[in-house]
């Protein structure tokens, strides 16, 4: 049963891009593609041949593989209620964060391997933003560690309690931060807009400009997986521990569905940040998580304030 979180995340990851697309279509009054369209696309890509740039080397070919593998292994850490993840040890979230970084590192060098100015720009932006968002994640995890006195994902989420008004506030801020970190990590709306298919403006999508076939298929799958990763974390974050397994499964999917809808909603209703504003915006996430940390210090009575 330890793999339950992993399995459910995989399932929800397959539907994620579809739900986002449907939400966006509905928001803008269009009919839009079906929920499964993205899956069909992936299946089609799997069967397709590839075109490689003559400039590229093995790095370009192995990058998507490592990227995909890193996310899948990261998903193995996903606990589910009282069930541990397939992999779980103390301070596993450090491993988790660095594993995501491995994938990112490879995608960045993979993009640079094509020797294209566009992909260089995308890679550069990705590198910058993911480095800036890292502190926010770690401070948030630090707050949770402090709150629960445990250091692995499983224990963190099992021992988390929300009882007072104050802790609800922390929970809300935590969820907000998780969502925003996910948006940055996935290069989504306020940071990047995957919809404007323009070489000059994008971050993640422009990095994969030269990928095709199997590699592209992996990249598409990874996008969904990454969302499911954060969706799963948020779901675990708010599970009431007393609920039954089935109720939790329902909650898990509801949270993922809501997360996808929120992403779609954000992408419809706001314009992209000015690029120069992004670093500040991401840094503000760290500040917010610092406030969360301070309040956790207050909750655990380390910060004595009358």
């Amino acid at each position: 049963m330890n793999g339950l979180g992993f399995l459910l995340s995989i399932v929800s990851s397959l539907l994620f891009p579809g739900i986002i697309a449907v939400t966006k279509a509905k928001m803008s009054g269009r009919k839009g593609p079906g929920i499964f369209q993205s899956l069909f696309d992936v299946a089609r890509l799997f069967r397709k041949g590839s075109i490689y740039s003559a400039t590229t080397s093995i790095i370009f070919q192995i990058a998507p593989v490592i990227y995909f593998a890193s996310i899948v292994v990261a998903l193995l850490f996903m606990p589910f209620g009282q069930y541990k993840g397939l992999l779980s040890f103390e301070a596993d979230f450090v491993f988790f964060a660095y594993l995501l970084a491995v994938g990112k590192f490879m995608m960045i060098v993979g993009a640079m391997d094509t020797g294209s100015g566009f992909e260089g720009m995308g890679a550069n932006r990705e590198a910058l933003y993911s480095l800036l968002v890292e502190p926010a994640f770690f401070i948030l995890m630090g707050s949770l560690v402090l709150l629960t006195s445990h250091t692995s994902f499983y224990n963190l989420f099992v021992h988390i309690h929300f009882d007072s008004f104050f802790s609800y506030l922390i929970a809300l801020l935590g969820i907000y931060l998780f969502i925003q970190i996910a948006m940055v990590e996935n290069s989504r709306m306020p940071i990047d807009d995957p919809k404007t298919h323009l070489e000059l403006t994008m971050i993640h999508e422009v990095m994969v400009l030269d990928n095709s076939g199997f590699d592209m298929c992996l990249i598409h799958l990874t996008t969904g997986l990454k969302f499911a990763l954060y969706g799963g974390l948020i779901a675990n974050f708010i599970f009431p521990e007393t609920w039954t397994l089935y109720a939790k499964i329902v909650v898990f999917f509801t949270v993922n569905l809501l997360f996808a809808i929120v992403v779609g909603f954000l992408e419809s209703c706001r314009a992209r940040n000015k690029l120069a504003k992004n670093p500040k915006w991401i840094l503000a996430l760290s500040s917010i998580s610092m406030v969360v940390f301070l309040s956790v210090l207050a909750i655990t009575h380390k910060l004595f304030l009358e």
Binding site: G117, T196, E199, R272, K274, K277
Partner: protein, 511 residues
């Protein structure tokens, strides 16, 4: 000969001085510059420059003649920078060389086009060999040197001619460091269709079909300008009713374009809802177009001497649709201005200073957003723009993408008011007057304001009343050279947004 065109012949070596003194003495704007091959008539090449005087409805049109082996003249670009593309185009098309032009590269022709081949000369023929080479692929006959920014760490981004979105072809060469653009050079003219040459092979009456197809978005404006030129040349006086109908349709065209453009700017900032809202309103207007004229793009309405349909029969439909659109439009603008992220994205993006705008002679929205109060509808009143009502001129000083969006928004609002006003009026006259024969060797200007800016046609008939030369200048032709200035110092990812805020046509500047 229309009374507001003042032709003055100048010696070929005096031309530059004359233009310079004209600029200094009077407040004039260069609207158009072109050459004609009149060797069949009097063995001369002629080069005309059309200046329009500010505040007076007068066109000063100095021209000079050239012939013989030495087809050179002194460039006027030095004193009037706005002439730089015209002169390069004349050199490409006619082989008349502007001496002292700061940019000796070719403008219209790409690398594979043979040197010393000037298509707008009457005796031009393309060789079999050249045709064969074009078919075979890339042949670099006259390489184009892009301007280089020297220095370590500068990289060039070649964008286009194939773009990620479904847009027209154009090549941009950015010299950038990191995200900052230090120089942008655009290489356009990928869509040369030989329109001007094609006009020469048709009768003036058939030419309207071609004029309607020059630009998809400003079909009607082009046909109005063309008809106007031919009618003025032939001395045809159109009736009040025709004037009213043309004005109304021009404004309809303006609204749907402006709202569509604003929607497209939303696509540039990534505001999905805004984008679709703009598209929905545009669609409503285009359906109105279809109901009125049978064409979503208002084609087939104009003819020489009048119009084919009496739009006023459907006045109720127009007024109810416009009311509905106005309501939706208000909501739309409220949404856009309320979305701070959208506004922030546009502000300070793609600033075009007034000084540069004046030097380059930009037109339309671009000019008005940079603080130049220039509108052909008021500068040279035509149709019923002068006598039916006063319309508010909306200029903004900032010159950034936001100013361009707001200029569009305000103009669309004005146009709605105008349409309502036009519908109120009563106009007399037939739908069209019988067009007579076109008098030989006559010429005239036609012009109007398209949604993008002013469009000019200059026509001249030959011995048989057939076109000897049809020169057309679309607004994009004036505005494209200003884009690099707006983009300079901006960041690379803001370029598409800048571009969308200008919303220029690639094909529309390539005749």
């Amino acid at each position: 000969m229309p009374e507001n065109e003042k032709y003055i012949e100048v010696g070929w070596n005096e031309f530059a001085n004359y233009c310079d003194s004209l600029c200094k003495k009077r407040n004039v704007i260069l609207r158009l510059m072109f050459a004609t091959d009149e060797r069949a008539i009097d063995n001369w090449f002629k080069v005309y420059a059309v200046f329009s005087e500010q505040g007076k409805d007068i066109f000063h049109i100095p021209f000079f003649k050239l012939r013989g082996a030495n087809l050179k003249y002194k460039s006027i670009t030095g004193c009037i920078p706005a002439a730089h593309w015209y002169e390069r185009e004349i050199r490409d098309m006619f082989g008349l060389i502007p001496e002292g032009h700061p940019d000796p590269r070719r403008l219209v022709f790409h690398d594979s086009f043979p040197a010393d081949s000037h298509p707008l000369r009457k005796d031009w023929k393309i060789s079999e060999n050249d045709l064969k080479e074009w078919g075979e692929g890339v042949v670099k006959k006259v390489p184009y040197d892009f301007m280089k920014v020297e220095g370590e760490g500068v990289y060039e981004i070649p964008v286009g001619p194939v773009h990620a979105g479904i847009i027209e072809p154009g090549h941009f060469r950015f010299s950038a460091v990191g995200e900052t653009i230090y120089y942008l050079e655009s290489r356009l003219f990928y869509t040369h269709k030989g329109i001007e040459k094609h006009f020469e092979s048709m009768s003036f009456f058939d030419g309207i079909k071609l004029a309607e197809r020059v630009s998809g978005t400003s079909t009607f404006s082009h046909s109005v300008a063309y008809c106007m030129a031919v009618e003025r040349m032939a001395g045809i006086n159109i009736t009040e009713k025709v004037k009213a109908i043309r004005t109304l349709l021009l404004e309809l065209e303006r609204i749907y374009n402006h709202i569509g453009d604003i929607g497209n700017i939303c696509a540039g900032t990534g505001l999905t809802v805004g984008n679709t809202m703009g598209a929905v309103i545009k669609e409503r207007l285009m359906q109105l177009n279809e109901r009125l004229t049978g064409s979503r793009y208002l084609r087939g309405v104009n003819m020489i001497g009048g119009v084919t349909k009496d739009i006023f029969l459907q006045a109720d439909d127009i007024s109810t649709t416009i009311d509905a659109v106005a309501k939706e439009y208000k909501k739309f603008m409220k949404l856009l201005l309320g979305t701070v992220s959208h506004v922030e994205r546009l502000e300070d993006t793609g600033k075009l200073s007034k000084e540069v705008a004046i030097l380059l002679g930009v037109t339309g929205i671009t000019a008005r957003a940079s603080g130049i109060n220039d509108d052909i509808r008021r500068a040279h009143p035509h149709l019923i723009y002068n006598n039916v009502f006063e319309f508010v001129h909306y200029t903004r000083q900032e010159g950034d993408a936001f100013a361009r969006m707001m200029a569009r928004a305000e103009e669309a609002k004005c146009s709605m008011v105008m349409i309502k006003a036009i519908i109120e009026g009563r106009y007399t006259g037939d739908l069209h007057v019988e067009a007579k024969e076109i008098p030989p060797y006559s010429h005239a200007l036609g012009y109007t304001e398209t949604p993008r800016g002013s469009v000019f046609y200059w026509v001249k008939s030959d011995r048989d009343g057939k076109p000897l030369r049809v020169k057309l200048r679309s607004p994009s032709y004036c505005n494209w050279p200003s884009v690099p200035f707006a983009v300079h110092g901006n960041i690379v990812p803001d370029f598409p947004l800048c571009n969308k805020s200008f919303n220029l046509s690639y094909s529309g500047c390539d005749m």
